[in-house]
C-alpha cells in the first residue's frame, strides 16, 4: 500500500482530529490514501467511526504504534 499523504495530528484533542481528517479527505483526489497519526485516546474511536459514516473506507485495520494510532483511509 502506498501512502499518498500523512496527517499528523498528535497533541490535538477533540473535536480537531475528526474535523481535520474529514476536511483533508474532502480535498483529496478519490482513491488516494491518507495516513492519520493521532495520540488522543478519544480519537482512536471517533475518527474511524466518523470516517466510515461519511462514506470513506479504511484501507486496512488501524495500527497501534506505541501510544499512538495510525489510520489508513481511502479518500
Amino acid at each position: 500500500m502506498s501512502i499518498d499523504f500523512t496527517l499528523d495530528i498528535r497533541g490535538e484533542s477533540c473535536p480537531y482530529p475528526v474535523i481535520y481528517t474529514l476536511e483533508t479527505l474532502k480535498d483529496m483526489e478519490k482513491g488516494k490514501i491518507l495516513q492519520v497519526i493521532t495520540d488522543c485516546p478519544s480519537s482512536f474511536r471517533n475518527v474511524p467511526e466518523e470516517v466510515v459514516k461519511h462514506g470513506y473506507q479504511m484501507a486496512q485495520e488501524p495500527m497501534k504504534n506505541g501510544r499512538e494510532y495510525l489510520f489508513y483511509i481511502i479518500a
Binding site: T6, C14, P15, I19, Q35, G55
Partner: protein
Amino acid sequence: MKVINKIFNHYWSPYIAIGIAGILSALYFGITKTVWAVTGEFTRLGGNILQLFGVDISDWAYFQLIHMQGTTFSRTDGWIVWGMFIGALMMVLFSNSFKIRIPKQKRRLIQGLIGGIIAGFGARLALGCNLAAFFTGVPQFSLHSWIFMVATGIGTFIGTKIVQLKWWKGKPVLLKGNTAEILKKKHPIQPYIGGLVAILYIGIIVYLFSTGKTMLGVAAIFGAAFGILIERGQICFTSAFRDLWISGRATMTKAILLGMAISSVATLIVIIAYGLEPVTKIAAPSTFIGGLLFGLGIVLASGCETGMMYRLMEGQVHYLMVFIGNVFGATLLSYAWDHLGVYNYLVKNGKPINLITVMGPASALIITLILLALCFIIAVYWQKNYRFEVGFKKGDHNKHVH
C-alpha cells in the same frame, strides 16, 4: 490473562461504563446524601487558594452557600475529586498509555484557559456542572437540570461555530508520503507504577476507615470508581452535545441518556427506600445563563470539568490549562455572586422545584423517562442523517458516498 487484557488494554463500551456510573451515583447518594459532583469542590479549592494569599473570604455569601469548611482532604467532595484523578491515573498506567501530549499549535493552551474559565463560571452560576446539574441532577428530579441541559445544548452549538472558524481552528500538519515512524515494542513499566499507586491509595482508604472517617473513605472509593469508569469508557459530556453539531456523532449522547435513565430509576428507589429528600437546586435565570456559558466554555476548552480530569491524567498538557481555568472561573463566580450582584439579579427570584413534589414520584419518573427516551430517538435520527459541513441536506453533497 485474556480477561485482564480486555479490562486494561481496551476501552470499555461507553454504555456499560456510564450505566454503572449511574447506579453507583444513586448508591453514593443513598450512603452520603450528597451527589456525585466536582465543580463545588473546584470552587472550594479556589477559596483555599485565596485564603493562602491571605484573602478573607468568611463573608463571601457563595462560600457559605457551598459550605466552605476545612481542607479538601476533610471533605467528601474533595475525596471524590482526588479519587477520580487517581482512579483515572491508575487505568492510564495499567493500560500503559500515559504520554505527555503537547499540542503543536500553542493557541490551544490559551483556548483551553479561556474555555475553562467560561465553563467554570457558568457551571457554578447554575450551581453545578454536567454532573450535579445534569447527570446526577436529572435523576434527582430537580427541574433546574432540564433547564441547564437545554441551555448547554444552545451554548455548545454557539461554541462549535467559533471553534470551526479558521483563526481558532488553525491548520494541521499535512505532508506528502509516509512520515510515520514505527516504534519498537518495549517492555512496559507503567503498569507497575500503576500498581504502586493502587497500593498507596488502598492504604489511604484503609487509613480513612480505621480512623473513623467513614464517609471520607466511602467518597474515596466512589471517587476512584467514577475515575476508572470515565477513563475506561472515555466518557465525554462535551462530545455528547458538540459532536451532534459538528459531524452528527451521537454515541456519547445516547450513552449518557441511557445512563441518566438507569440512574433515575435507581435514585428513585434509594429516595423511597431510605426516605431521603432529593437534592434540589434553584431554578432561576442563572440556571439558563449558566448552562449557556458552560456549553460555550466546554466546547472552546475541548472538555468539561469531568472529561478534563481523565485527559489530564493521560498526560494531555492542554487540560492543565482547562483545570486552572475551571478553578479560576468558579472562584470568579463566587466573587461576583454577592460583590457584583449576580445573586440579586439572576438568582433571588428563582426557587428549587422538584418534580416529585410537584407531581408525585410515579409521574416524575415516567415524565423523566419519556423525555429521556424522546431525546434518545432524536439522537438516533441525528446520527443517521446529519453530516459534517452539510447538515441534514440530502442529495449529491458528497462525491464519496458509496
